[in-house]
């Protein structure tokens, strides 16, 4: 069944583009490390193109290079939007290789990962200049008032670009998406579980509403 859904969606995307009605918005998926950005990117791509974006891991900074998939068409509630989806490395203001060693990496591996992670953060910041909108993924079990979240929200507001906040990990008992809603009341917030697909259709509706042009 998922295969048939993917085939139908892939076919409609192809017809849409063949008819020359492509209206692409370049959308970055942002957030702190381990918020579930790549899990969400994988979910979106599997649902609409049948592919995956990248691997996920409990060790922070698994994504250390931005990955981009072009021409992903999303249909929801009678609207369509074609996206270039950019899965960005986790934003951070500090990187300590000792934290990677605590996850079982050797000192050499941890230092290499830390070095690559710093380059990934720089790349993620530079991508902000080239986007039409952002999906900001927050971990609903964590405090939403982190500086990384404040910086991304502030940059989108200053650039007057559309932003959707995703309160991820609502499958976990300690998740509190209401805390995110009260922290950033001026933006649309969609509580989801990217891992289990909970509320994902609601997110697609919000994506077509906010990023459709």
């Amino acid at each position: 069944m998922p295969f048939l859904i993917g085939l139908r969606r892939g076919l409609s995307s192809w017809i849409f583009r063949l008819l020359g009605r492509k209206r692409t918005a370049r959308i970055g998926i942002y957030g702190p490390p381990n918020a579930g950005k790549t899990t969400l990117a994988n979910r979106i791509l599997r649902d609409w193109s049948g592919e995956a974006m990248g691997s996920v891991s409990p060790i922070p900074h698994e994504t250390r290079r931005a990955r981009r998939r072009e021409g992903v068409m999303i249909n929801a509630n009678g609207r369509s939007v074609v996206l270039d989806v950019v899965d960005t490395p986790g934003l951070a203001t500090k990187i300590d290789f000792h934290e990677f060693m605590a996850h079982g990496l050797s000192e050499e591996e941890a230092k290499r990962r830390a070095k690559e992670a710093t380059e990934g953060v720089i790349e993620a910041v530079k991508w902000l200049d080239d986007l039409d909108g952002v999906i900001l993924v927050m971990d609903a079990t964590e405090d939403p008032f982190t500086q990384v979240n404040v910086v991304v929200v502030g940059n989108m507001e200053a650039r007057e670009l559309p932003l959707i906040i995703v309160a991820n990990k609502i499958d976990l008992e300690e998740a509190n998406p209401q805390r995110i809603e009260s922290a950033f009341p001026q933006h649309p917030i969609v509580p989801i579980s990217a891992l289990e697909g909970t509320n994902i259709e609601q997110l697609y509706e919000e994506i077509t509403r906010r990023f459709g042009r």
């Binding site: 203001t93 500090k94 990187i95 830390a114 008032f145 200053a158």
Partner: protein
């Protein structure tokens, strides 16, 4: 006496600097181990530039990055700005220090609690 130096930086001093001068001033001081409290913070663009430059200066043994916390910007909506439909964002008090010595304990809209360690 052992301790961590903390500088309270006035809005006047910051506004006399260009964006790059502000970021350089912050990073040079934080790399020396100081904690800075800025009376008026950085713009979102300056904050993302500060993150970018911090990453380029991380040295895995000596400097692991910064801890930065600020209150979300406030919308400044004078009558003129409302008429022009151009509200501007007013940046607010910001604390920045070396990540090795400064750790945020709790933050909400009204209070930032931080721990300064001497290790």
């Amino acid at each position: 006496m052992n301790g961590v130096e903390m500088d309270l930086v006035s809005e006047e001093m910051l506004s006399s600097l260009t964006s790059m001068e502000k970021i350089r001033y912050i990073l040079d001081n934080v790399r020396q181990g100081k904690i800075l409290v800025l009376e008026r913070g950085l713009t979102p663009e300056e904050q993302s530039k500060l993150i970018e430059m911090t990453m380029s200066e991380i040295n895995l043994d000596d400097f692991i990055g910064i801890e930065i916390e600020s209150y979300p910007a406030k919308e400044e909506s004078s009558l003129l700005r409302r008429l022009l439909k151009k509200p501007s964002l007013q940046t607010r008090l910001t604390m920045i220090g070396p990540a090795r010595h400064l750790k945020t304990l709790k933050k909400d809209r009204e209070v930032i609690s931080a721990l300064v360690s001497m290790r």
